[in-house]
């Protein structure tokens, strides 16, 4: 078997590079080599199953030369947006935040991969490449709060999980080990009310707070603020955020066994500590931030990765069992040539991102019973506020956010408005105003539109002084709001809109509910009070314009929101096949051997950055997939009219597929 050629350098892992394409049988096919797919492949490969991972994008990032190429692409990019380091790929296109533009009188225009027809824009991107969107994540790993799992029952909105925090707690710990989380569990417990087992510590000590965090904490800690005249006071507290980022290992971890940080993929003994490059989004130069390539480097040899393989369809038989997938292989992302192949397996796991999973199910006409595929699309709409402190605060240093205010995530106010988490942003006005580039242009008199008249501009020492004084005092707050599941926010496919390989592009219908907009109004009110406490000069402005596709008016007030990159909810889990797409194992109700894993399964997203929860769910599903496979491979002794018996010891000859009727979908809860 020839090793698949990898551009530049050696494959990172013990896994196999892709063989030439011919139909073969595997125990499991995983669609997508992002965070979820990589973790599922890791667990199942370690348990001895033969896993085929099909990744639509390229594998250029999993070698050190490929990583350096991405760094240079990032340095040279005009706009340093999340996808800027990663090469465009016409065969497996990715959405980009630059695909959206606001219109002068309000409203927006979308071009690029998504077709958008909603009242408001869905402003989040993702990345189709080996490693997935987590290649450009910020790396924050807060757990969801127990009450986030039951928002319908407790607060009367959205959808409830068929699981609770307690069901997931052990998997949270497993995910914190796999991703390598640095944090202060005692602080998380005291400040947020997260239950942990007694004596728990994270693998690594918390990432140090920024100077800005300390400045904010000195003014805010213990101060009650009201979000409206008639609401009770909420006490502010700056809380350190857990990160999947290498910090100082905690010797007490794992019963005193400690923890060894995982360094860069493809370069030994490198990246075992965050060194403050301040570019976590879009790329960590030393790979001190977790990315799935690190896990792939430890994959068992039974895991086979094929990149540049776009799954176009899930194949199922007449009884509803998934038989495998059809995929399109291509060599050159720039050339419109592909060949079509099939791969077969006992179990198929879709792990291609919430929107791509939904697209695949829709195209394959699978999991249709509930009518929920593609619906309940969610994100964390982000409201930004920004201003100037009275003295320098050291912006553009360290991870993008090291602390937040968690006081508005929970509690009875959720009955009327969306809850939110406040991230203290360490990178000045980079997100709200594209600083520092925009500051330079403004002082030089260069407007965004080359047709507009130019200011005279400031030069020399005066330019230098004013830049230093202005940028040095910049700070901003990011309010991440919970979006609830709504059937009207959805992904569909339309045969008229296709990408170059002929696969449908996602058609997105998106809007924000009034309860979400009330959350934004409350967030802005809190921001106003916080700026007052900080004695900061508020420079926040919302209005229509080319850089404000997310502008809207609500109750006489202007707002602009952004996407957080937290796409979720397109194949939500539930406890009934009539109202949800997957069960609590992320297994399609309609197809006992087809899983759809990832944020798409989440019925509610709370206010936590979702990757840790997604990882915990993937690890939990891996356990059930292992049980399913074990069951399928159990020696069959007598079976009237069935296929011949198979020998489990010989390993990987699949047993006869049981009919769904002979083995009803038993729910066994942990």
């Amino acid at each position: 078997m020839n090793a698949y050629p990898r551009p530049g350098g050696q494959p990172a892992g013990g896994h196999r590079a892709a063989p030439p394409h011919h139909t073969r049988r595997f125990d499991v096919i995983v669609v997508g080599a992002g965070l979820s797919g990589t973790l599922v492949a890791k667990r199942l490969g370690d348990q001895g199953w033969r896993v085929l991972v099909l990744e639509a994008g390229t594998g250029t990032l999993d070698t050190w030369p490929g990583h350096l190429d991405a760094m240079n692409t990032y340095y040279a990019a005009a706009a340093k947006v999340p996808n800027s380091p990663y090469r465009p790929n016409a065969a497996a296109p990715s959405p980009d935040v630059l695909d959206l533009a606001g219109l002068p009188e309000g409203g927006f225009r979308a071009h690029g991969y998504f077709v958008q027809n909603g009242a408001l824009p869905y402003g989040s991107d993702y990345l189709r490449a080996n490693g997935g969107t987590v290649m450009h994540w910020l790396g924050l790993t807060p757990r969801m709060h127990p009450e986030d799992f039951a928002v319908r029952r407790k607060f009367g909105y959205g959808r409830d999980w068929p699981l609770g925090y307690a069901d997931l707690e052990g998997h949270y710990r497993a995910a914190e080990r796999e991703l390598g989380v640095a944090g202060d569990a005692q602080e998380q417990s005291e400040a947020i009310g997260l239950p942990f087992p007694e004596g728990y510590v994270y693998p690594m000590h918390r990432i140090p707070r920024s100077y800005l965090d300390d400045v904010v904490a000195a003014k805010l800690d213990g101060v009650p603020v009201r979000e409206s005249a008639d609401s009770p006071g909420t006490t502010l507290r700056v809380v350190t955020t857990p990160h999947a980022r290498n910090s100082v290992p905690d010797a007490r971890y794992d019963g005193g066994r400690g923890y060894r940080p995982a360094g860069a993929a493809g370069l030994p003994n490198y990246g075992e500590r965050c060194v403050g490059n301040a570019s976590c989004v879009p790329i960590c130069p030393v790979q001190a931030k977790y990315n799935p390539l690190k896990t792939q480097a430890t994959w068992d040899s039974r895991v086979t990765l094929v990149t540049r393989a776009v799954v176009s369809r899930v194949l199922a038989d007449g009884t509803g069992r998934a038989m495998g997938v059809e995929y399109q292989a291509y060599d050159d992302p720039a050339a419109p040539v592909h060949t079509t192949h099939t791969a077969e397996a006992d179990i198929v796991v879709l792990a291609a991102h919430a929107i791509e999973n939904a697209k695949l199910l829709l195209v394959s006409r699978l999991a249709e019973h509930s009518g929920q595929v593609g619906r309940n699309l969610m994100d964390h709409p982000v409201l930004l506020t920004w201003g100037l402190m009275k003295h320098p605060v050291g912006p553009f240093r360290g991870p993008a956010s090291t602390s937040g205010v968690e006081s508005f995530r929970t509690g009875p106010a959720r009955r009327r408005r969306a809850p939110f988490r406040i991230e203290i942003a360490n990178w000045g006005w980079s997100w709200p105003a594209a600083s520092p580039g925009s500051d330079v242009a403004r002082l030089l008199g260069i407007p965004g539109d080359s047709g507009q008249p130019r200011g005279r501009g400031v030069f020399g020492k005066e330019l230098r002084r004013r830049l230093g004084d202005g940028i040095g005092r910049q700070f901003s707050l990011q309010f991440e709001l919970e979006q609830e599941a709504e059937g009207r926010n959805r992904v569909t496919v339309d045969p008229r809109h296709r990408d170059r390989l002929g696969n449908p592009r996602p058609v997105i219908t998106y809007d924000l509910s009034d309860r979400l907009k009330r959350g934004m109004a409350a967030a802005k009110a809190v921001s106003d009070r916080v700026f007052g406490l900080l004695e900061a000069e508020d420079r926040t402005v919302y209005g229509p314009g080319p850089f404000s596709p997310g502008h809207f008016r609500f109750e006489g007030q202007d707002f602009t929101f952004n996407g957080a990159g937290h796409g979720a909810g397109t194949h939500i889990m539930g406890d009934s096949r009539d109202t949800s797409v997957v069960d609590h194992w992320q297994r399609c109700w309609d197809h006992p051997n087809l899983y759809a894993v990832g944020c798409g399964s989440m019925p509610s997203v709370g206010t936590s950055n979702p990757s840790l929860t997604m990882a915990a769910l993937a690890l939990r599903s891996s356990e059930q997939i292992h049980r399913d496979l074990t069951e399928l491979h159990r020696p069959v002794t007598v079976r009237t009219g069935g296929g011949g018996g198979t020998d489990a010891a010989s390993g990987h000859v699949p047993g006869p597929a049981p009919s769904p009727h002979s083995r009803p979908h038993q729910e066994v809860r942990p």
Partner: protein, 195 residues
């Protein structure tokens, strides 16, 4: 204000210079850049970008307009604030922008037309290193995002000119025994979901 007018059609573009700018030309460019940026010549040379930036400016506006810019700046006593011709003033803006960010910006549309440029009026980064050598980061004692990392935990220290603030001590204790109430909530969660 008398904007420069071209009375004759723009001349054919000069052939690309086959050799990099000569050392004296780079020195002269750095002298001008000192006035545009407010950084001294040692700092500017030390970026390693001076020759590339001179080439970029020459390539973008053409040698004639560049010479006129130098001449007008000289006539203004070397003070870019006193540049009155809009073309030269826009070239001054562009060169300062290039030094501060590593990015050649869009020229004013009118200047773009007046120069008769036969290339897109689009911003671009001169090279990956140009981004990391941008001067803007130094104005506030920073480092370019994604390069020249200052080291673990350095972001906790006050930047120059900032007052120290009390730092909340990191407790870093293991999780204590959960309160009874919290234990109860856990139970409720479990029961509520297995029912």
């Amino acid at each position: 204000m008398a904007p420069h007018r071209t009375t004759s059609p723009p001349s054919l573009p000069a052939l690309p210079t086959p050799t990099p700018p000569s050392l004296p030309a780079v020195d002269g460019f750095v002298d001008v850049s000192v006035r545009l940026t407010g950084f001294d010549s040692f700092d500017l040379h030390a970026t390693g970008m001076a020759a590339l930036y001179l080439e970029t400016a020459l390539d973008q506006v053409g040698p004639e307009a560049f010479e006129r810019f130098l001449g007008e700046l000289d006539a203004a006593g070397g003070d870019p604030d006193r540049l009155e011709g809009e073309t030269s003033r826009d070239i001054a803006r562009a060169i300062a922008h290039l030094w501060y960010l590593g990015v050649w910006p869009q020229l004013a549309r009118s200047v773009h037309s007046a120069l008769g440029r036969e290339k897109a009026n689009a911003p671009f980064t001169a090279s990956p290193e140009a981004y990391t050598e941008g001067l803007v980061w130094r104005t506030f004692h920073g480092h370019p995002a994604g390069a020249k990392a200052p080291g673990f935990g350095t972001w906790s220290e006050p930047p120059p000119g900032a007052p120290p603030v009390p730092r909340a001590a990191a407790p870093e204790r293991p999780v204590e025994k959960p309160e009874t109430k919290r234990e109860g909530e856990l139970e409720e969660e479990r029961e509520g979901n297995t029912a």
